[in-house]
C-alpha cells in the first residue's frame, strides 16, 4: 500500500469554499489522465480514503460516485474499486479537460479584450 501512488498530490490544499468532492474529482481525473494513477490500480476504500484525508465520508463517497459516472473508475462487488482499463474513457476525460482549459483561456482573452491569437502573441513577446 505504501509504495502505491497517492490518489491526491501530497501537497494538495483543499479550498474550503468550494465543494470538496469537486476538487477531489478534478485532481484524481488529472492524475489518471497523466498516468500517475495507472489503469487497473486499486483505490482505497471510501472509508480509508475519507479517514486518510480527514473528510466527511459522504465527500469521499461522492468523489467515487462522480469518477464512476465519468467511467474513470470501476467498482467490482466484493473486490474493490479500480482505475478503468478502458483507454477510451481516459482519452475522453483528457479531451474534456482540454476543452475546459481552452474555454477558460478564451474567456480570459475576452475579458482582456483580446483574441486568443493576440493573447498568445502578447504573452510570448520578448521584453
Amino acid at each position: 500500500m505504501k509504495d502505491e501512488p497517492m490518489l491526491l498530490p501530497e501537497d494538495f490544499v483543499v479550498n474550503p469554499s468550494r465543494p470538496i468532492y469537486e476538487q477531489f474529482v478534478e485532481q484524481i481525473t488529472a492524475r489518471i489522465v497523466r498516468g500517475l494513477l495507472p489503469t487497473g490500480l486499486r483505490l482505497p476504500s471510501v472509508r480509508d480514503f475519507a479517514a486518510g484525508r480527514r473528510v466527511n465520508p459522504t465527500t469521499a463517497a461522492r468523489t467515487y460516485q462522480e469518477l464512476e459516472r465519468m467511467g474513470l473508475i470501476v467498482t467490482y462487488r466484493g473486490q474493490g474499486t479500480f482505475v478503468t482499463n478502458e483507454e477510451a474513457m481516459i482519452l475522453e476525460a483528457r479531451k474534456v479537460m482540454a476543452k475546459e482549459a481552452v474555454q477558460q483561456f478564451k474567456e480570459m482573452a475576452i475579458s482582456l479584450g483580446l483574441s486568443v491569437q493576440e493573447m498568445i502573441e502578447l504573452a510570448e513577446q520578448e521584453e
Binding site: P16, S17, R18, I20, A51, V55, N56
Partner: protein, 245 residues
C-alpha cells in the same frame, strides 16, 4: 412475514433524528443559558456545534447527554426523551474531563471495559493502535494530546450510536488533532454512528462536518448544510464569521 418483523423497526429508526431539541430553555441563577433552542441532527451525520465561549454549548451537550435537565422544552435522543434511560445510547467526551491519573492506560481501559455494558474489546484493540496509545504510561504522565486520545478511545470503544465530543482538541498538539479527526471519520461505520462535536478548532474539523449548528448567547443563530454552503462559495469559517463577527 419474518423479514418484516425484523426490518420495520429499523426503517422507523432510520427516519428519526438522532437528536431533536424543541424550544429548550434553561436558566441558571436567573441567567438565561439556553433560550428556546430548537434543532435536529439527522442520523449518520457529523454535526459541528459552533459558537463563542459562553454560548451555551456545554450546557446543551450535557442536556442531550442526560446529565442535566432543561426548565422547559423537549430534548430527544433517537426519539426518546433524553435522560438516564438513554445513557447507553450515547458516549460523551466531556469538556476538560480528566481520567484518573493514578492509573496506567491499561488499568483505566480494563476499568472502563467493566463499567460500560456496550464496551467492545475488538474496537478498543484497534483504536489503541490507531491512536498510538502506550498502555504502560500512567495517565498523570501523559501529555494533553495523549490523554485526549485516550479519552476519545474510551468514548469510541463503546458501541453507542451517538457520540458527543465536547472540545476534543483543547490543548492538543497538531499530530494528535489529526489522529483524532481521522479516527472520527474511520469510526463513522457507514453512517451507523452520529457525531455531535463542539469545537473551536474550525480549521481542523471543517472538512468533517456535514452540518453546523451555530449557537450564541444561548440561542440558535443558524443551522447549515455544509455542502450547501460550499455550493454557494462559502466555507465553514466564513459562515462562522458572518454569524458571529
Amino acid at each position: 412475514m419474518g423479514t418484516h418483523a425484523v426490518i420495520s423497526p429499523l426503517i422507523e429508526l432510520g427516519e428519526e433524528a438522532a437528536v431533536r431539541c424543541h424550544e429548550v430553555s434553561f436558566k441558571m441563577k436567573k441567567k438565561m443559558i439556553l433560550d428556546q433552542v430548537s434543532f435536529e441532527i439527522p442520523k449518520g451525520s457529523i454535526t459541528g456545534l459552533l459558537g463563542p465561549n459562553g454560548a451555551g454549548k456545554s450546557s446543551l451537550l450535557r442536556m442531550i447527554a442526560g446529565l442535566s435537565s432543561q426548565d422547559s422544552g423537549t430534548v430527544q435522543v433517537f426519539g426518546q426523551p433524553a435522560g438516564e434511560k438513554m445513557l447507553g445510547k450515547l458516549s460523551l467526551l466531556p469538556d476538560r474531563g480528566s481520567l484518573p491519573g493514578w492509573l496506567t492506560a491499561e488499568q483505566w481501559l480494563s476499568f472502563a471495559a467493566g463499567i460500560y455494558p456496550d464496551w467492545n474489546e475488538q474496537s478498543a484493540k484497534q483504536l489503541i493502535e490507531r491512536l498510538k496509545i502506550n498502555l504502560d504510561t500512567s495517565i498523570s504522565a501523559m501529555s494533553r494530546g495523549e490523554e485526549a486520545r485516550l479519552q476519545l478511545l474510551t468514548c469510541l470503544s463503546r458501541t453507542a450510536p451517538l457520540i458527543i465530543l465536547d472540545e476534543p482538541f483543547t490543548g492538543v498538539d497538531l499530530i494528535s488533532r489529526e489522529q483524532i479527526a481521522s479516527t472520527v471519520v474511520a469510526e463513522m461505520g457507514d453512517g451507523e454512528r452520529t457525531f455531535l462535536i463542539a469545537t473551536h478548532d474550525i480549521r481542523e474539523m471543517e472538512m468533517l462536518f456535514d452540518r453546523l449548528v451555530l449557537i450564541g448567547d444561548g440561542q440558535i443563530k443558524s443551522v447549515e448544510d455544509v455542502e450547501q454552503l460550499r455550493q454557494h462559495g462559502k466555507s465553514v469559517e466564513s459562515c462562522y464569521r458572518e454569524v458571529f463577527a
